[in-house]
Amino acid sequence: MVKSPAMAETKDEQQNSPMISLRNVHVSYGEREILHGVSFDVMRGETMVILGGSGSGKSTLLRTLVGLERPSAGEIWIRGKDLATTPPDELDEIRKKIGMSFQGGALFGSMTVGENVALPLREHTQLEDSTIEIMLRLKLEQVGLAGFEYYMPSQLSGGMKKRAAVARALAMDPEILFFDEPSAGLDPIIAAGIDQLILELKKAFHMTIIVVTHELASAFLIADRMVLIDKGNVIAIGPTAEMRASTQPRVRQFLDRVAEPEVAREMDYLQMLTEDRRPDDRST
Protein backbone atom coordinates (compact mmCIF):
# COMPACT_ATOMS: atom_id res chain seq x y z
CA MET A 1 0.00 0.00 0.00
CA VAL A 2 1.19 3.47 -0.83
CA LYS A 3 1.88 5.53 2.23
CA SER A 4 0.65 9.09 1.88
CA PRO A 5 2.32 11.85 3.91
CA ALA A 6 -0.89 12.10 5.94
CA MET A 7 -0.36 8.65 7.31
CA ALA A 8 3.12 9.31 8.62
CA GLU A 9 2.65 9.82 12.32
CA THR A 10 5.88 9.90 14.26
CA LYS A 11 8.38 12.63 13.63
CA ASP A 12 10.97 10.13 12.50
CA GLU A 13 8.56 8.66 10.02
CA GLN A 14 7.72 12.13 8.78
CA GLN A 15 11.38 12.81 8.07
CA ASN A 16 11.56 9.81 5.79
CA SER A 17 8.16 10.17 4.22
CA PRO A 18 7.85 11.56 0.72
CA MET A 19 6.98 15.26 0.44
CA ILE A 20 5.26 14.65 -2.87
CA SER A 21 3.92 11.35 -4.12
CA LEU A 22 2.70 10.82 -7.67
CA ARG A 23 0.72 7.68 -8.36
CA ASN A 24 -0.07 6.79 -11.96
CA VAL A 25 -0.79 10.39 -12.96
CA HIS A 26 -2.47 10.94 -16.33
CA VAL A 27 -2.96 14.45 -17.73
CA SER A 28 -4.82 15.34 -20.92
CA TYR A 29 -5.49 18.52 -22.86
CA GLY A 30 -8.87 17.78 -24.39
CA GLU A 31 -8.56 14.43 -26.14
CA ARG A 32 -4.76 14.49 -26.26
CA GLU A 33 -3.10 12.72 -23.36
CA ILE A 34 0.23 14.33 -22.39
CA LEU A 35 1.24 12.25 -19.36
CA HIS A 36 0.53 8.52 -19.46
CA GLY A 37 0.74 7.33 -15.88
CA VAL A 38 3.64 9.02 -14.10
CA SER A 39 4.65 7.72 -10.65
CA PHE A 40 7.49 8.80 -8.38
CA ASP A 41 8.18 10.24 -4.93
CA VAL A 42 10.04 13.36 -3.94
CA MET A 43 11.51 13.07 -0.47
CA ARG A 44 11.55 15.82 2.13
CA GLY A 45 14.51 18.14 1.66
CA GLU A 46 15.78 16.70 -1.59
CA THR A 47 16.32 18.44 -4.89
CA MET A 48 14.64 16.56 -7.69
CA VAL A 49 15.34 17.55 -11.28
CA ILE A 50 12.75 16.68 -13.89
CA LEU A 51 14.61 16.26 -17.17
CA GLY A 52 13.12 15.87 -20.59
CA GLY A 53 13.23 17.17 -24.13
CA SER A 54 10.87 19.69 -25.65
CA GLY A 55 7.40 18.21 -25.83
CA SER A 56 8.22 15.43 -23.37
CA GLY A 57 5.50 16.59 -20.99
CA LYS A 58 7.81 17.86 -18.26
CA SER A 59 6.29 21.34 -18.17
CA THR A 60 2.82 19.82 -18.04
CA LEU A 61 4.01 17.70 -15.13
CA LEU A 62 5.20 20.82 -13.30
CA ARG A 63 1.92 22.64 -13.98
CA THR A 64 0.07 19.63 -12.60
CA LEU A 65 2.22 19.56 -9.46
CA VAL A 66 1.34 23.18 -8.63
CA GLY A 67 -2.35 22.58 -9.35
CA LEU A 68 -2.61 24.54 -12.61
CA GLU A 69 -3.73 21.39 -14.44
CA ARG A 70 -5.94 18.68 -12.98
CA PRO A 71 -4.91 15.09 -13.59
CA SER A 72 -7.49 13.07 -15.53
CA ALA A 73 -6.53 10.03 -13.46
CA GLY A 74 -4.12 9.13 -10.67
CA GLU A 75 -3.17 10.72 -7.37
CA ILE A 76 -0.78 13.50 -6.34
CA TRP A 77 -0.17 13.62 -2.60
CA ILE A 78 1.26 16.85 -1.17
CA ARG A 79 1.00 17.61 2.58
CA GLY A 80 -1.50 14.79 3.04
CA LYS A 81 -3.90 16.03 0.37
CA ASP A 82 -4.56 14.52 -3.03
CA LEU A 83 -4.37 17.39 -5.55
CA ALA A 84 -6.58 15.48 -7.97
CA THR A 85 -9.59 15.54 -5.66
CA THR A 86 -8.92 18.51 -3.36
CA PRO A 87 -11.61 21.22 -3.47
CA PRO A 88 -10.36 24.67 -4.58
CA ASP A 89 -10.17 26.30 -1.13
CA GLU A 90 -8.06 23.45 0.27
CA LEU A 91 -5.91 23.58 -2.85
CA ASP A 92 -5.22 27.22 -2.00
CA GLU A 93 -4.07 26.18 1.49
CA ILE A 94 -1.53 23.82 -0.11
CA ARG A 95 -0.47 26.54 -2.54
CA LYS A 96 0.40 28.88 0.31
CA LYS A 97 3.07 26.36 1.29
CA ILE A 98 4.65 26.09 -2.14
CA GLY A 99 6.60 28.62 -4.15
CA MET A 100 6.93 28.67 -7.90
CA SER A 101 9.48 30.47 -10.03
CA PHE A 102 8.22 30.76 -13.59
CA GLN A 103 10.35 30.56 -16.71
CA GLY A 104 10.05 34.26 -17.59
CA GLY A 105 9.74 35.35 -13.96
CA ALA A 106 6.03 36.26 -14.35
CA LEU A 107 6.53 39.40 -12.26
CA PHE A 108 3.61 41.83 -12.35
CA GLY A 109 4.73 44.60 -14.65
CA SER A 110 2.58 47.27 -13.03
CA MET A 111 4.15 46.79 -9.58
CA THR A 112 7.63 47.44 -8.26
CA VAL A 113 9.89 44.51 -7.36
CA GLY A 114 9.14 45.12 -3.69
CA GLU A 115 5.36 45.13 -4.25
CA ASN A 116 5.72 41.90 -6.23
CA VAL A 117 7.54 40.18 -3.38
CA ALA A 118 5.18 41.61 -0.76
CA LEU A 119 2.03 40.62 -2.64
CA PRO A 120 1.55 37.11 -1.16
CA LEU A 121 2.23 38.49 2.33
CA ARG A 122 -0.29 41.30 1.89
CA GLU A 123 -2.91 38.91 0.50
CA HIS A 124 -2.52 36.06 2.95
CA THR A 125 -1.25 37.51 6.22
CA GLN A 126 -2.41 40.21 8.63
CA LEU A 127 1.13 41.53 9.08
CA GLU A 128 1.77 45.24 9.58
CA ASP A 129 3.19 47.15 6.63
CA SER A 130 6.42 47.76 8.52
CA THR A 131 6.87 44.02 9.14
CA ILE A 132 6.17 43.24 5.50
CA GLU A 133 8.75 45.86 4.53
CA ILE A 134 11.39 44.12 6.64
CA MET A 135 10.45 40.70 5.29
CA LEU A 136 10.60 41.75 1.67
CA ARG A 137 14.05 43.32 2.20
CA LEU A 138 15.16 40.04 3.76
CA LYS A 139 13.84 38.00 0.84
CA LEU A 140 15.47 40.30 -1.69
CA GLU A 141 18.75 40.05 0.20
CA GLN A 142 18.53 36.26 0.13
CA VAL A 143 18.45 36.30 -3.66
CA GLY A 144 21.11 38.99 -4.00
CA LEU A 145 18.81 41.85 -4.93
CA ALA A 146 19.13 44.02 -1.83
CA GLY A 147 18.17 47.61 -2.61
CA PHE A 148 16.16 46.83 -5.73
CA GLU A 149 12.69 47.02 -4.13
CA TYR A 150 11.73 50.26 -5.87
CA TYR A 151 12.74 49.12 -9.37
CA MET A 152 10.10 48.15 -11.90
CA PRO A 153 10.47 44.63 -13.37
CA SER A 154 11.08 46.16 -16.81
CA GLN A 155 14.22 47.84 -15.45
CA LEU A 156 15.77 44.51 -14.44
CA SER A 157 17.94 42.18 -16.53
CA GLY A 158 16.83 38.62 -17.28
CA GLY A 159 18.84 37.10 -14.44
CA MET A 160 17.66 39.72 -11.95
CA LYS A 161 14.05 39.12 -12.96
CA LYS A 162 14.50 35.44 -12.16
CA ARG A 163 16.05 36.28 -8.82
CA ALA A 164 13.16 38.62 -8.03
CA ALA A 165 10.74 35.84 -8.97
CA VAL A 166 12.55 33.50 -6.58
CA ALA A 167 12.27 36.12 -3.85
CA ARG A 168 8.51 36.30 -4.46
CA ALA A 169 8.30 32.49 -4.41
CA LEU A 170 10.12 32.54 -1.04
CA ALA A 171 7.83 35.19 0.44
CA MET A 172 5.53 32.79 2.28
CA ASP A 173 8.41 30.59 3.53
CA PRO A 174 7.36 27.64 1.39
CA GLU A 175 8.15 24.02 2.14
CA ILE A 176 8.44 23.17 -1.54
CA LEU A 177 9.99 25.34 -4.22
CA PHE A 178 9.35 24.74 -7.91
CA PHE A 179 11.50 26.08 -10.73
CA ASP A 180 10.46 26.09 -14.38
CA GLU A 181 13.57 26.19 -16.61
CA PRO A 182 15.60 28.39 -14.25
CA SER A 183 18.44 28.91 -16.72
CA ALA A 184 16.37 29.40 -19.88
CA GLY A 185 17.32 32.52 -21.81
CA LEU A 186 20.29 33.39 -19.57
CA ASP A 187 23.95 33.55 -20.50
CA PRO A 188 26.14 30.80 -18.95
CA ILE A 189 27.53 33.01 -16.18
CA ILE A 190 24.13 34.33 -15.07
CA ALA A 191 22.68 30.81 -15.36
CA ALA A 192 25.46 29.48 -13.13
CA GLY A 193 24.55 32.21 -10.64
CA ILE A 194 20.96 30.95 -10.54
CA ASP A 195 22.21 27.38 -10.00
CA GLN A 196 24.32 28.68 -7.15
CA LEU A 197 21.27 30.40 -5.67
CA ILE A 198 19.30 27.14 -5.78
CA LEU A 199 22.14 25.34 -4.01
CA GLU A 200 22.32 28.05 -1.35
CA LEU A 201 18.56 27.91 -0.72
CA LYS A 202 18.77 24.17 -0.34
CA LYS A 203 21.64 24.44 2.12
CA ALA A 204 20.10 27.26 4.12
CA PHE A 205 16.48 26.13 4.37
CA HIS A 206 16.50 22.38 3.66
CA MET A 207 13.66 23.00 1.28
CA THR A 208 12.25 20.41 -1.04
CA ILE A 209 13.14 21.72 -4.48
CA ILE A 210 11.80 20.56 -7.82
CA VAL A 211 13.43 21.87 -10.97
CA VAL A 212 12.26 21.31 -14.52
CA THR A 213 15.04 21.77 -17.03
CA HIS A 214 16.74 20.42 -20.11
CA GLU A 215 20.10 21.99 -19.22
CA LEU A 216 22.23 18.96 -18.39
CA ALA A 217 25.15 20.76 -16.76
CA SER A 218 22.85 22.63 -14.42
CA ALA A 219 20.81 19.50 -13.70
CA PHE A 220 23.85 17.46 -12.63
CA LEU A 221 25.09 20.30 -10.46
CA ILE A 222 21.95 20.87 -8.41
CA ALA A 223 20.15 17.52 -8.36
CA ASP A 224 20.08 14.89 -5.63
CA ARG A 225 17.94 12.71 -7.81
CA MET A 226 16.64 13.01 -11.35
CA VAL A 227 13.67 11.77 -13.25
CA LEU A 228 13.78 11.61 -17.03
CA ILE A 229 10.48 12.08 -18.84
CA ASP A 230 10.08 11.00 -22.44
CA LYS A 231 6.83 11.17 -24.40
CA GLY A 232 4.80 11.45 -21.24
CA ASN A 233 6.37 8.52 -19.41
CA VAL A 234 9.04 8.23 -16.75
CA ILE A 235 11.85 6.33 -18.43
CA ALA A 236 14.47 6.63 -15.72
CA ILE A 237 14.68 7.80 -12.12
CA GLY A 238 17.51 7.71 -9.65
CA PRO A 239 20.38 9.51 -7.92
CA THR A 240 22.59 11.69 -10.10
CA ALA A 241 25.49 9.22 -10.19
CA GLU A 242 23.19 6.36 -11.14
CA MET A 243 21.74 8.41 -13.99
CA ARG A 244 25.15 9.34 -15.25
CA ALA A 245 26.08 5.66 -15.38
CA SER A 246 22.84 4.52 -16.99
CA THR A 247 23.11 2.25 -20.01
CA GLN A 248 19.51 2.65 -21.15
CA PRO A 249 19.67 3.71 -24.81
CA ARG A 250 17.09 6.51 -24.56
CA VAL A 251 18.71 7.89 -21.38
CA ARG A 252 22.15 7.75 -22.99
CA GLN A 253 20.83 9.48 -26.09
CA PHE A 254 19.52 12.34 -23.94
CA LEU A 255 22.57 12.61 -21.69
CA ASP A 256 25.06 12.29 -24.56
CA ARG A 257 23.04 14.77 -26.61
CA VAL A 258 22.73 12.50 -29.66
CA ALA A 259 20.45 13.92 -32.34
CA GLU A 260 17.38 12.01 -33.48
CA PRO A 261 18.10 10.10 -36.70
CA GLU A 262 17.37 12.46 -39.57
CA VAL A 263 14.23 11.87 -41.48
CA ALA A 264 14.97 10.62 -44.96
CA ARG A 265 11.52 10.72 -46.47
CA GLU A 266 8.55 13.03 -46.17
CA MET A 267 6.40 10.16 -44.89
CA ASP A 268 8.78 9.49 -41.99
CA TYR A 269 8.61 13.11 -41.01
CA LEU A 270 4.83 13.16 -41.05
CA GLN A 271 4.78 9.98 -39.00
CA MET A 272 7.16 11.50 -36.50
CA LEU A 273 4.94 14.55 -36.19
CA THR A 274 1.67 12.71 -35.80
CA GLU A 275 2.58 9.66 -33.75
CA ASP A 276 5.94 9.76 -32.20
CA ARG A 277 6.14 13.29 -30.94
CA ARG A 278 3.54 14.84 -28.76
CA PRO A 279 4.09 18.53 -29.07
CA ASP A 280 3.71 20.48 -25.89
CA ASP A 281 3.95 24.16 -26.75
CA ARG A 282 4.43 25.21 -23.16
CA SER A 283 7.73 23.46 -22.74
CA THR A 284 9.65 25.55 -25.23
Binding site: G67, F102, Q103, G104, G109, P120
Partner: protein, 267 residues
Protein backbone atom coordinates in the same frame (compact mmCIF):
# COMPACT_ATOMS: atom_id res chain seq x y z
CA UNK B 1 -28.65 17.56 -42.10
CA UNK B 2 -25.14 18.93 -41.94
CA UNK B 3 -26.51 22.47 -41.91
CA UNK B 4 -28.73 21.58 -38.98
CA UNK B 5 -25.87 20.12 -37.00
CA UNK B 6 -23.79 23.19 -37.79
CA UNK B 7 -26.57 25.45 -36.52
CA UNK B 8 -26.90 23.25 -33.45
CA UNK B 9 -23.17 23.51 -32.88
CA UNK B 10 -23.17 27.30 -33.12
CA UNK B 11 -26.12 27.56 -30.74
CA UNK B 12 -24.36 25.30 -28.22
CA UNK B 13 -21.15 27.34 -28.55
CA UNK B 14 -23.09 30.57 -28.11
CA UNK B 15 -24.84 29.29 -25.00
CA UNK B 16 -21.57 28.00 -23.57
CA UNK B 17 -20.04 31.45 -24.15
CA UNK B 18 -22.95 33.16 -22.44
CA UNK B 19 -22.69 30.65 -19.59
CA UNK B 20 -18.99 31.41 -19.14
CA UNK B 21 -19.67 35.16 -19.16
CA UNK B 22 -22.46 34.79 -16.61
CA UNK B 23 -20.23 32.70 -14.38
CA UNK B 24 -17.42 35.27 -14.59
CA UNK B 25 -19.82 38.17 -14.00
CA UNK B 26 -21.40 36.29 -11.10
CA UNK B 27 -18.06 35.64 -9.43
CA UNK B 28 -17.02 39.28 -9.89
CA UNK B 29 -20.36 40.35 -8.38
CA UNK B 30 -19.79 37.94 -5.47
CA UNK B 31 -16.37 39.41 -4.70
CA UNK B 32 -17.80 42.94 -5.02
CA UNK B 33 -20.95 42.66 -2.92
CA UNK B 34 -20.55 39.60 -0.68
CA UNK B 35 -16.78 39.01 -0.47
CA UNK B 36 -16.06 42.10 1.67
CA UNK B 37 -18.34 40.68 4.40
CA UNK B 38 -16.56 37.33 4.28
CA UNK B 39 -13.04 38.50 4.92
CA UNK B 40 -12.05 39.29 1.35
CA UNK B 41 -11.64 43.07 1.34
CA UNK B 42 -12.18 44.99 -1.88
CA UNK B 43 -9.08 46.34 -3.56
CA UNK B 44 -10.40 49.89 -3.42
CA UNK B 45 -7.19 51.57 -4.48
CA UNK B 46 -7.11 49.51 -7.69
CA UNK B 47 -10.80 50.18 -8.24
CA UNK B 48 -10.25 53.94 -7.93
CA UNK B 49 -7.38 53.92 -10.41
CA UNK B 50 -9.50 51.81 -12.77
CA UNK B 51 -12.35 54.28 -12.32
CA UNK B 52 -10.00 57.11 -13.29
CA UNK B 53 -9.05 55.19 -16.42
CA UNK B 54 -12.53 54.04 -17.36
CA UNK B 55 -14.38 57.19 -16.36
CA UNK B 56 -12.47 60.41 -15.93
CA UNK B 57 -10.06 59.93 -18.82
CA UNK B 58 -12.97 59.08 -21.15
CA UNK B 59 -14.65 62.45 -20.52
CA UNK B 60 -13.02 64.56 -23.27
CA UNK B 61 -13.70 62.17 -26.13
CA UNK B 62 -17.13 61.20 -24.79
CA UNK B 63 -18.11 64.87 -24.43
CA UNK B 64 -17.10 65.65 -27.98
CA UNK B 65 -18.88 62.64 -29.48
CA UNK B 66 -22.13 63.09 -27.56
CA UNK B 67 -22.17 66.83 -28.22
CA UNK B 68 -22.02 66.08 -31.95
CA UNK B 69 -24.60 63.31 -31.63
CA UNK B 70 -26.95 65.75 -29.90
CA UNK B 71 -26.46 68.25 -32.68
CA UNK B 72 -27.03 65.59 -35.34
CA UNK B 73 -30.20 64.43 -33.58
CA UNK B 74 -31.50 68.01 -33.52
CA UNK B 75 -30.79 68.44 -37.23
CA UNK B 76 -32.40 65.14 -38.16
CA UNK B 77 -35.51 65.65 -36.09
CA UNK B 78 -35.84 69.25 -37.30
CA UNK B 79 -35.91 67.95 -40.87
CA UNK B 80 -39.16 66.13 -40.11
CA UNK B 81 -40.60 68.47 -37.48
CA UNK B 82 -40.24 71.48 -39.76
CA UNK B 83 -42.91 70.00 -42.05
CA UNK B 84 -45.39 70.17 -39.19
CA UNK B 85 -44.22 73.54 -37.98
CA UNK B 86 -43.29 71.89 -34.72
CA UNK B 87 -39.73 73.10 -34.35
CA UNK B 88 -40.38 73.72 -30.66
CA UNK B 89 -40.41 69.93 -30.21
CA UNK B 90 -36.75 69.60 -31.23
CA UNK B 91 -35.66 69.90 -27.61
CA UNK B 92 -38.04 67.12 -26.56
CA UNK B 93 -36.92 64.81 -29.37
CA UNK B 94 -33.23 65.25 -28.55
CA UNK B 95 -33.71 64.96 -24.80
CA UNK B 96 -35.77 61.77 -25.00
CA UNK B 97 -33.63 59.97 -27.54
CA UNK B 98 -30.43 60.90 -25.71
CA UNK B 99 -31.49 59.85 -22.21
CA UNK B 100 -33.45 56.74 -23.16
CA UNK B 101 -31.23 55.33 -25.83
CA UNK B 102 -28.28 57.11 -27.36
CA UNK B 103 -26.67 58.40 -24.18
CA UNK B 104 -26.19 54.94 -22.64
CA UNK B 105 -25.40 53.30 -25.99
CA UNK B 106 -22.82 55.81 -27.22
CA UNK B 107 -21.20 55.83 -23.76
CA UNK B 108 -21.00 52.04 -23.83
CA UNK B 109 -19.43 52.05 -27.27
CA UNK B 110 -16.81 54.65 -26.30
CA UNK B 111 -16.03 52.67 -23.14
CA UNK B 112 -15.74 49.42 -25.12
CA UNK B 113 -13.24 51.06 -27.43
CA UNK B 114 -11.21 52.54 -24.61
CA UNK B 115 -11.55 50.12 -21.70
CA UNK B 116 -13.11 46.84 -22.86
CA UNK B 117 -10.26 46.40 -25.32
CA UNK B 118 -7.72 47.47 -22.69
CA UNK B 119 -9.06 44.90 -20.21
CA UNK B 120 -8.67 42.12 -22.77
CA UNK B 121 -5.18 43.27 -23.78
CA UNK B 122 -3.98 43.69 -20.19
CA UNK B 123 -5.30 40.37 -18.92
CA UNK B 124 -4.34 38.61 -22.18
CA UNK B 125 -0.74 39.81 -21.87
CA UNK B 126 -0.68 38.65 -18.26
CA UNK B 127 -1.93 35.26 -19.42
CA UNK B 128 0.81 34.99 -22.05
CA UNK B 129 3.55 35.97 -19.60
CA UNK B 130 2.27 33.42 -17.04
CA UNK B 131 1.30 36.18 -14.58
CA UNK B 132 -2.22 34.72 -14.27
CA UNK B 133 -0.68 31.32 -13.50
CA UNK B 134 1.60 33.01 -10.97
CA UNK B 135 -1.45 34.51 -9.22
CA UNK B 136 -3.08 31.10 -9.04
CA UNK B 137 0.00 29.39 -7.64
CA UNK B 138 0.16 32.13 -4.99
CA UNK B 139 -3.43 31.18 -4.06
CA UNK B 140 -4.69 34.59 -5.23
CA UNK B 141 -7.87 34.45 -7.28
CA UNK B 142 -7.35 36.26 -10.62
CA UNK B 143 -11.05 37.16 -10.54
CA UNK B 144 -10.75 38.80 -7.14
CA UNK B 145 -7.41 40.40 -7.91
CA UNK B 146 -7.97 41.59 -11.47
CA UNK B 147 -11.62 41.46 -12.47
CA UNK B 148 -13.35 42.78 -9.35
CA UNK B 149 -11.72 46.26 -9.33
CA UNK B 150 -12.63 46.64 -13.01
CA UNK B 151 -16.16 45.42 -12.34
CA UNK B 152 -16.65 47.90 -9.50
CA UNK B 153 -15.16 50.76 -11.53
CA UNK B 154 -17.42 49.95 -14.47
CA UNK B 155 -20.74 49.69 -12.63
CA UNK B 156 -20.08 53.01 -10.92
CA UNK B 157 -18.51 54.94 -13.76
CA UNK B 158 -20.74 53.92 -16.65
CA UNK B 159 -23.93 55.46 -15.18
CA UNK B 160 -21.92 58.59 -14.28
CA UNK B 161 -20.57 58.84 -17.81
CA UNK B 162 -24.05 58.27 -19.16
CA UNK B 163 -25.46 61.20 -17.17
CA UNK B 164 -22.63 63.35 -18.51
CA UNK B 165 -23.26 62.10 -22.05
CA UNK B 166 -26.97 62.97 -21.73
CA UNK B 167 -26.10 66.49 -20.68
CA UNK B 168 -23.59 66.96 -23.46
CA UNK B 169 -26.09 65.62 -26.00
CA UNK B 170 -28.72 68.09 -24.84
CA UNK B 171 -26.13 70.85 -25.01
CA UNK B 172 -25.28 69.77 -28.57
CA UNK B 173 -28.95 69.93 -29.50
CA UNK B 174 -29.24 73.38 -27.97
CA UNK B 175 -26.67 74.70 -30.41
CA UNK B 176 -29.13 74.00 -33.21
CA UNK B 177 -32.09 75.08 -31.09
CA UNK B 178 -30.57 78.48 -30.38
CA UNK B 179 -29.20 79.03 -33.88
CA UNK B 180 -32.16 77.82 -35.94
CA UNK B 181 -35.29 77.30 -33.85
CA UNK B 182 -35.82 80.52 -31.91
CA UNK B 183 -34.85 79.04 -28.54
CA UNK B 184 -32.73 80.81 -26.01
CA UNK B 185 -30.23 78.52 -24.29
CA UNK B 186 -32.19 78.70 -21.04
CA UNK B 187 -35.52 78.01 -22.76
CA UNK B 188 -34.03 75.08 -24.64
CA UNK B 189 -32.68 73.49 -21.48
CA UNK B 190 -35.95 74.16 -19.65
CA UNK B 191 -37.90 72.53 -22.50
CA UNK B 192 -35.57 69.52 -22.36
CA UNK B 193 -35.97 69.09 -18.63
CA UNK B 194 -39.73 69.50 -18.80
CA UNK B 195 -40.01 66.83 -21.46
CA UNK B 196 -38.18 64.24 -19.38
CA UNK B 197 -39.68 61.95 -16.79
CA UNK B 198 -37.56 60.41 -14.06
CA UNK B 199 -38.20 57.03 -15.62
CA UNK B 200 -36.62 58.13 -18.91
CA UNK B 201 -33.39 58.84 -17.11
CA UNK B 202 -33.69 55.84 -14.80
CA UNK B 203 -34.21 53.27 -17.58
CA UNK B 204 -31.16 54.68 -19.36
CA UNK B 205 -29.09 54.37 -16.20
CA UNK B 206 -30.28 50.82 -15.48
CA UNK B 207 -29.25 49.91 -19.00
CA UNK B 208 -25.87 51.55 -18.53
CA UNK B 209 -25.18 49.43 -15.42
CA UNK B 210 -26.02 46.31 -17.43
CA UNK B 211 -23.73 47.51 -20.23
CA UNK B 212 -20.95 47.97 -17.70
CA UNK B 213 -21.34 44.40 -16.44
CA UNK B 214 -21.40 43.10 -20.04
CA UNK B 215 -18.30 45.02 -21.11
CA UNK B 216 -16.30 43.93 -18.06
CA UNK B 217 -17.34 40.30 -18.38
CA UNK B 218 -16.53 40.10 -22.10
CA UNK B 219 -13.23 42.02 -21.86
CA UNK B 220 -11.96 40.02 -18.90
CA UNK B 221 -13.23 36.70 -20.22
CA UNK B 222 -11.52 37.23 -23.58
CA UNK B 223 -8.33 38.21 -21.77
CA UNK B 224 -8.43 35.16 -19.52
CA UNK B 225 -9.05 32.79 -22.44
CA UNK B 226 -6.09 34.11 -24.45
CA UNK B 227 -3.98 31.31 -25.93
CA UNK B 228 -0.20 31.15 -26.09
CA UNK B 229 1.68 33.80 -28.03
CA UNK B 230 1.61 37.55 -28.54
CA UNK B 231 -0.65 37.45 -31.59
CA UNK B 232 -3.33 35.79 -29.48
CA UNK B 233 -3.52 38.98 -27.39
CA UNK B 234 -4.48 40.84 -30.57
CA UNK B 235 -7.16 38.25 -31.34
CA UNK B 236 -8.57 38.50 -27.83
CA UNK B 237 -8.71 42.28 -28.01
CA UNK B 238 -10.52 42.24 -31.34
CA UNK B 239 -12.96 39.60 -30.13
CA UNK B 240 -13.57 41.55 -26.94
CA UNK B 241 -14.54 44.67 -28.90
CA UNK B 242 -16.73 42.88 -31.44
CA UNK B 243 -18.48 40.68 -28.87
CA UNK B 244 -18.98 43.59 -26.47
CA UNK B 245 -20.63 45.77 -29.10
CA UNK B 246 -22.86 42.89 -30.17
CA UNK B 247 -23.84 41.90 -26.64
CA UNK B 248 -24.40 45.49 -25.54
CA UNK B 249 -26.89 45.89 -28.40
CA UNK B 250 -28.55 42.60 -27.40
CA UNK B 251 -28.77 43.67 -23.75
CA UNK B 252 -30.11 47.03 -24.92
CA UNK B 253 -32.82 45.30 -26.95
CA UNK B 254 -33.77 42.97 -24.09
CA UNK B 255 -34.08 45.79 -21.59
CA UNK B 256 -35.89 48.09 -23.99
CA UNK B 257 -38.42 45.30 -24.63
CA UNK B 258 -38.69 44.71 -20.91
CA UNK B 259 -39.32 48.38 -20.11
CA UNK B 260 -41.74 48.63 -23.00
CA UNK B 261 -43.94 45.72 -21.98
CA UNK B 262 -43.50 45.70 -18.24
CA UNK B 263 -43.78 49.47 -18.12
CA UNK B 264 -47.32 49.35 -19.49
CA UNK B 265 -46.47 50.16 -23.14
CA UNK B 266 -45.67 53.76 -22.44
CA UNK B 267 -42.18 53.59 -21.38
Amino acid sequence: MQVLSQIGGSVTDGLAYLGALTSLGGRAAYYTFIGPFRGRPLRLQRAVSQAMDVGVRALPILSLITFFIGLILALQSAYELKKFGAMNLVATAVAISMTRELGPLITAIVVIGRSGSAFAAEIGTMKVTEEIDALETMAISPIHFLVTPKFLAMIIMLPCLTIWANMMGILGGSLFGVAQADFTLLRYIQASIESLFVRDIATGLIKSVMFGITITAVGCFEGLSTGAGAEQVGHSTTRAVVMSIFLVVVVDLVFTLLFFFVGGNNG
